[in-house]
Symmetry: C2
Subunit: 327 residues, 2 copies
């Protein structure tokens, strides 16, 4: 199988690459070619028996998509995007990269010819939804994004479905939950604190909680995100049907439940490193975010996620901290 | 008020122009300028005291949108689109006109500057929905179009909401029901028979019914379509909120109910001019179409449509046939 990962240098892209490296196959078929593309050249793992190519290119630049699909990969993971905050600050750049970049990729696949119909796995986001919501958002709830990023993702979902329906490609769009615990340094994303309040205390550092403990949100681990991608790559398109985009399973918990789980897993001393410092701006942003889903379609199609926040923390400790934390 | 109608030469555009001509005002303010644009120059009515300009141009051509908004109209009605059947046959042309044309218009408005924020009334379609459906489609049901036309309309709806949220314009997207009774000659649209079976018998002609009489669909008259547009132009944006697109009210009836209504209004001789000739291709297309809606938001915002199919037929006889038909 020839695999192309666009956005391979990002957090999820790196973990997906490592997973494919470990598996050596996808959907029961050996991986023979792996093309890793991003705006900076990804660092490839040493895969034996696999032709690895790295590409540093901007998908939204003319000709890049055509070049990427020229080798006719069987599976294309399209993870590349600029994040929510940046798409909100820079309107033109958000639309150029998140919408036109994706549309250009779909067009390049279409132009590659009729006999070419790769599986395209597109990472969408729960940002396609905007408040007010029902108690748990059902699979047939409408998309009314409250950010330009969410709008761009919702548009790409529609394109994925239409290009699939027309037979130009075989797409699956998966709406990722907020991914916790994100490894690395705290970033400026408004959602960053959901990871910060777990990761930093486990590293012996204080972390700021800018919202009320009653704040509820929808989570899965980086490990689950990679599972979703690999599972989506192997799905039977006929079983999915015409509705090609779906909300991934996740766990709906409050910040209070996050903190309780941290206390249970790592003790009081760690949990007490969380500093309450309410931030009205962040609270207002988070107010518009989804809190809970009934992701029945994805569950029926075999996707699964974590069932407790303690499990989420233990996966972080296992995958990122080698089993240890700073007490 | 300066008014721009894009798509002014079409059936709805012509009727909207005539309505504005008759009213002389919109939302209580006198109309001073009227720009009528379409790919062929619209024929303007003789409005006293109103500056009328006609423009023959393709909105999807470079510079056209910028030229159209240069005079900074207060209200823009964007009705221009290629129809469902054509967008399905010519993929590129559908996306170029229905998506890129609309996006270009929104961009031209944005580029016109911060102080410019016109009301944009966009005609969307119930084609943004695709089967399977609930009994009556609610206002928060998701968009899963089964045509490229429906996809393009759904994407434009998302853009209308985002450009409005960002303060670049003040948009309202209205999803029109299937419009009956369409005046003029039978056309090749798959939905044409819903009008044909009323219009042709009233004109003394036979009409072919290609589907089962149990087929249910969602209707409003051309007169209601114009009412929707004028009402949308005057809506308070604050009252509409962030969700800028909505399904218009309509009437859900079966073909059998259409025929009964024709019989009640015009007699057996007229109704007996309908010839049953099932067409598997048309039946399959119609199978994917919406049948019924609970258009509660639009009703709450003051939109209204017909309440019986007899009323729909009587409006056709009054507006198009001067009160007479061929018995």
């Amino acid at each position: 199988m020839k695999i192309l990962i666009i956005g391979a240098a990002g957090m999820i892209g790196t973990k997906l690459t490592a997973r494919l490296f470990a598996d050596g196959e996808i959907g029961g078929k050996p991986i023979t070619d792996l093309v890793l593309a991003d705006i900076v050249a990804p660092t490839p793992p040493p895969m034996v028996g696999v032709e690895i190519t790295t590409v540093a290119a901007d998908l939204s630049e003319p000709g890049v998509a055509t070049r990427l699909v020229a080798s006719r990969p069987d599976i294309i993971f399209h993870l590349a995007a600029i994040v929510s905050g940046e798409a909100e600050v820079d309107f033109d750049r958000g639309y150029r990269i998140n919408l036109d970049g994706t549309r250009g990729l779909l067009e390049a696949i279409r132009q590659a010819g009729e006999a070419y119909c790769p599986r395209v796995v597109f990472t969408s986001s729960i940002a396609v939804f905007g408040a007010p919501f029902h108690q748990a958002i059902s699979d047939d709830f409408f998309n009314t994004p409250l950010t330009s990023y969410g709008t761009q993702k919702a548009i790409c979902e529609l394109l994925i479905s239409d290009y699939t329906r027309r037979g130009f490609l075989d797409g699956i769009g998966i709406r990722l939950p907020t991914i916790v615990v994100r490894p690395g340094l705290p970033n400026k994303a408004a959602s960053g604190f959901f990871s910060d309040i777990i990761r930093e205390p486990l590293a012996g550092q204080e972390a700021i909680l800018p919202v009320a403990e009653s704040t509820r949100h929808w989570f899965a681990t980086p490990r689950s995100a990679v599972n979703f991608l690999v599972h989506a790559a192997g799905l039977d398109g006929e079983a999915v049907g015409a509705r090609r985009n779906m909300t991934m399973p996740g766990l709906s918990v409050t910040v209070a439940e996050q903190i309780d789980a941290l206390r249970n897993v790592a003790g009081d001393r760690v949990a007490d490193r969380i500093v309450r410092k309410p931030d009205a701006a962040i609270m207002r942003i988070v107010e518009g975010w989804p809190r809970n889903f009934a992701a029945e379609r994805a569950l029926a199609l075999g996707f699964h996620a974590e069932s407790s926040f303690e499990e989420i923390i233990r996966i972080h400790i296992a995958d990122e901290l080698g089993g240890n934390w700073v007490n």
